[in-house]
């Protein structure tokens, strides 16, 4: 019995390290889940003279999607966002981009966004803890962040996580 201790401990260590290897170090848990979405008032991408604030979405379940025209994964997830936008309002946060690049990008690839705001220096993105574009947030009727996805949304992410969560939040 005593002799079993050492191999058992060793196996436990291997299992622990093995589990560690399967985790994705890029998926950093966000401290913002369950907190109010950081406030912002930013110019609209399409109409620089008009501003938009997250307060305008109060009372709705909505999705905030951080994107940029210089970001290839954003293009990769664009069809998924487009599909998602059919069932829930999606607001774009255009991150450290130039209008003359971002607007043609939308014209080329389609514009699924209810609107996009223009975060030219990325200051608001810092408040949202953005570090890898694209990122996607689900925000409830009270303006609380309920889910954050880092990196491009896959159709599975949208179908299995975002859509059911939106439904649940609408129901409650």
């Amino acid at each position: 019995m005593k002799k079993l201790w050492l191999p058992l401990g060793f196996i436990a260590l291997i299992v622990l390290l093995g589990v560690g290897l399967t985790l994705n170090p890029r998926q950093v848990p966000s401290p913002l889940i369950g907190k109010a979405a950081p406030p912002f008032e930013l110019p609209r991408l399409d109409q620089p003279s008009k501003t938009f604030t997250q307060k305008e979405m109060l009372g709705d379940v909505w999705v905030l999607n951080v994107w940029a025209s210089w970001c290839p994964p954003c293009l990769a997830e664009h069809p998924v966002v487009t599909e998602l936008a059919k069932s829930v309002p999606v607001v774009g946060l255009n991150y450290k981009d130039a209008r003359e690049d971002a607007l043609p990008w939308l014209a080329r690839n389609g514009n699924p966004y209810q609107l996009s705001v223009y975060d030219a220096n990325g200051r608001i993105a810092i408040d949202y803890g953005v570090y890898g574009v694209p990122e996607t947030y689900v925000i409830d009727r009270k303006g609380v962040i309920r889910y954050k996805h880092i990196g491009p949304l896959t159709p599975q992410d949208a179908q299995k996580k975002v859509v059911p969560l939106v439904k649940e939040l609408r129901g409650g």
């Binding site: 950093v28 401290p31 200051r123 810092i126």
Partner: protein, 137 residues
């Protein structure tokens, strides 16, 4: 001449204030992790986000924020993950105590083994003694 000295003093004061601020920014950036290149500190990384965050830290420190406030600002947005020295709490207990637990387990094993070795060797019989004496001759 007097005016020149005053200008020089003011200028030197401004320069030393600026370098003090830079020192504080880089000292703080040393202990924060860059989110983009995760094995680098914010001080080492040249990722655009690291540059933005250093600017943000500089701006806040120059407005009179303390190191602690800036650290809290970062943790509120990116979580404990940004700290190279994470705080001790339930979720990080294994991280902090694990090495000591392993060390303790190793020490226990070592002590046991050494004790076992200290047990007296079985004494030689008369015949064995004779044989050993012959071999040693």
């Amino acid at each position: 001449m007097g005016r020149f000295a005053i200008i020089l003093c003011v200028w030197m004061g401004a320069v030393s204030a600026a370098t003090d601020l830079e020192k504080r920014v880089s000292a703080l950036a040393e202990e924060l992790r860059c989110l983009v290149c995760q094995n680098q500190t914010l001080a080492e990384s040249n990722a655009p986000l690291a540059v933005d965050l250093r600017n943000q830290m500089r701006e806040q420190l120059s407005k009179g924020a303390s190191e602690r406030e800036v650290r809290e600002f970062m943790v509120a947005r990116y979580g404990d993950f940004v700290l190279y020295k994470p705080p001790f709490k339930a979720s990080t207990a294994a991280l902090w105590l694990g090495p000591f637990a392993l060390l303790l387990a190793g020490a226990v094993l070592l002590v046991r083994r050494v004790r076992r070795r200290r047990e007296p060797e079985p004494a030689l019989s008369a015949a064995e003694r004779e044989r050993a004496a012959k071999l040693l001759e």
